[in-house]
């Protein structure tokens, strides 16, 4: 009988993804305190919407709620983070040319990658976290983020390029990276 209650079903569907949900919120808000608030809010929202969740992939469903809660929160509390609305064209630049990065990274230090990732726009962090940390497919990311599959691919390409640039550019020149 207990397993039939909404609370029990929610526990089964949503709580296994708690750490992944927190990780996404933490990367999007870049603050542990804010991530705590956002995750709690997202879980409460997920619980209210739970009746409309028709089984299926609980993780993707939860991620999309966490993601949306994060952006709502960022718009409300961190307007300067999203001061310039993310613009595909603006961030695409002209780097997709035949000239590969000048420097090859043979090994990347996790701590450095972490710092570099923190410097990327939220939309780049979002696709990288979902792809590299959660191992989601383009299709899953497209559904969670509400963008086209082609956009997922191009956004990932630009995100990786920016990341690479940050990792190979001396700190003094980071601002122009």
């Amino acid at each position: 009988m207990l397993a039939d209650t909404k609370l029990a079903r929610f526990e089964q569907a949503a709580m296994p993804h708690f750490d992944a949900a927190y990780n996404l919120a933490r990367w999007l808000t870049r603050s542990s305190g804010d991530a705590d608030d956002v995750v709690q809010e997202a879980y409460l929202r997920a619980f209210s919407f739970f009746d409309s969740f028709r089984g299926g992939d609980g993780r993707a469903w939860l991620f999309s709620i966490v993601r949306n809660t994060c952006y709502t929160w960022l718009r409300k509390n961190r307007t300067h983070d999203l001061m310039t609305e993310f613009d595909e064209a603006l961030h695409s630049g002209t780097e997709q040319t035949a000239s590969p990065e000048a420097l090859q990274l043979r090994r990347a230090d996790s701590e450095m990658v972490k710092e570099a990732l923190e410097k990327l726009p939220a939309e780049f962090r979002e696709v990288l976290v979902l792809r590299e940390m959660e191992g989601l497919s383009y299709k899953e990311i497209a559904e969670i983020s509400g963008i086209a599959i082609g956009t997922v691919m191009s956004r990932l390409a630009r995100a990786r390029k920016r990341l690479h640039d940050l990792l190979t550019t001396p700190a003094s020149q980071e601002s122009t990276a």
Partner: protein, 251 residues
């Protein structure tokens, strides 16, 4: 495959989202092109630094507990609201409608307008006249005694008729006071039934109809004729009372 194409397909290849034919082409290109191979290696290096879980943030146990509590709290609140809603919908609507209708009827009865209050007074006057042994101020079966008796006491002359031949003998008259008027009470009889006819000048229009009603077991007939308001009250049956009224009012 050109370097430009190789770079365009690099991410799809890294993410295993590239189709097989292009993947093989790309691998061949990477084998032949050191620059693109270096780029590929760089990507793999960054991925290795990110993917091993080293960049993952773990939620604290406290947060997990806190969120569980919050969700459980919301669950309780939702169920409380649900119960409240159910209670509301479970109100026995037919019973409620019936009692509302009953209240409405009572209100209507309560608020019955003024004409009935005159009828009340008339019937009450009739009952009082029988109870208090004050049926007549002038006991007489002679209309020529009764009619002049009123003359000195009222500013109008009530019609007094001799209907004894029709079986409604006159037995007297008295003064009464109804609805704020001095009224003449002319008393007739039908066998053992007393008929009180209350008369006073009426502002109302002439009325050809006789309005019959019943109240507290008494029958009442009312009309307005020739500027006079007539009320006849008796425990006589309605048919005979109406017959009496028609005889009384006949020109």
């Amino acid at each position: 495959m050109t370097c430009k194409e190789a770079q365009a397909f690099m991410d799809g290849y890294l993410d295993r989202e590239l189709d097989l034919v292009r993947s093989i082409d790309l691998e061949r290109h990477l084998h032949d092109c050191p620059a693109c191979a270096a780029l590929h290696q760089s990507r793999l290096a960054v991925r290795a630094a990110m993917g091993a879980g080293s960049l993952r943030y773990a939620a604290g146990e406290n947060l997990k507990k806190k969120v569980r509590l919050a969700v459980a709290g919301q669950d309780r609140e939702e169920r409380r609201q649900e119960r409240k809603k159910r209670r509301w919908f479970h109100i026995p609507w037919p019973a409620l409608a019936a009692s509302a209708a009953a209240v409405a009827v009572l209100m209507v009865l309560w608020l019955r307008p003024a004409p009935n209050s005159v009828e009340n007074e008339v019937v009450a006057g009739h009952i009082r006249s029988l109870m208090a042994n004050h049926l007549m101020d002038v006991p007489s079966t002679d209309q020529h005694t009764v009619k002049p008796w009123f003359a000195g006491k009222l500013d109008f002359a009530p019609p007094v008729k001799d209907l004894s031949s029709a079986g409604f003998p006159l037995i007297g008259g008295r003064l009464d006071y109804i609805d704020g008027h001095d009224a003449a009470a002319v008393v007739y009889q039908r066998n053992q039934h007393v008929i009180n006819v209350l008369v006073w000048p009426a502002a109302g229009a002439h009325d050809d109809r006789l309005r019959a009603s019943a109240r507290q077991g008494y029958n009442v007939v009312e009309t307005v004729r020739g500027g006079m308001q007539y009320w006849a009250v008796s425990d006589l049956n309605p048919a005979e009372l109406r017959q009496f009224a028609e005889l009384l009012l006949a020109p």
